[in-house]
Symmetry: C2
Subunit: 133 residues, 2 copies
């Protein structure tokens, strides 16, 4: 099948499929006489796998590792689990950071009048002005 159909069926855009091929995440596709890339059901399954892994936030590099593990019938599930748990740790780090930002922002917006006057604790905070209550 052509790349457009593979894209539709995998949920990965044609543009992105070509990109994945260019960086070596997926092998080079076969070609028709006219130069069109051709894909098999297995290729579509690989692309779906990639799409799901990306949807869980795994980096391209990690997706490559997961693909390798998936294909390796002698893998040990501990390796897969370790990869996933490291990723969870990274997500937790990001969650913490975002939550801290959010807390600060919520506090500041609560203290800001939000009317037509110019004074604003948000700007004060950014400027490093210490405003005691």
């Amino acid at each position: 099948m052509n790349i457009g159909i593979a894209a539709q069926r995998s949920g990965v855009s044609a543009k992105t499929i070509r990109y994945y091929e260019s960086i070596g995440l997926i092998p080079q596709a076969g070609r028709t006489d006219g130069g069109y890339r051709t894909y098999s059901e297995q290729d579509v399954a690989n692309l779906r796998f990639i799409q799901h892994a990306r949807g869980l936030g795994f980096s391209i590099k990690d997706v490559g590792r997961l693909l390798d593990l998936w294909r390796d019938k002698d893998r040990v599930s501990a390796d897969v689990r370790a990869l996933a748990m490291a990723h969870v740790a990274e997500i937790d780090r990001k969650l913490d950071e975002l939550q801290r930002m959010r807390d600060t922002l919520i506090d500041l917006t609560r203290r800001c009048h939000g009317d037509d006057r110019p004074d604003c604790p948000i700007l004060d905070e950014l400027a490093g002005v210490t405003v005691d209550a």
Copy 2:
């Protein structure tokens, strides 16, 4: 003062200060006869402001808007507040997404033996295999 000192005192690296200048976030610095950039206390204050805003996750574009508001003595705090709240909304979106990823990953890692056997619900899920309990 030279860029290195301004960097130290603002917490923004010299490299990044030059970058901010190149994209127009800060005005072009004055120069010595030898071509070195020079900075004032006010410049350092601006850089600190930028650093704080970036630390709260504001985009460069939003930081530019905040700087404009900061400098505009006729600003209305409602504008600042609206910017901050829009940013909180964006953070909430990211928090939700990360939390969803985390939930799925935690569930999968819990169901994965994580031993020397190859079978692994994480890979099954990514492959789209439906495993009923």
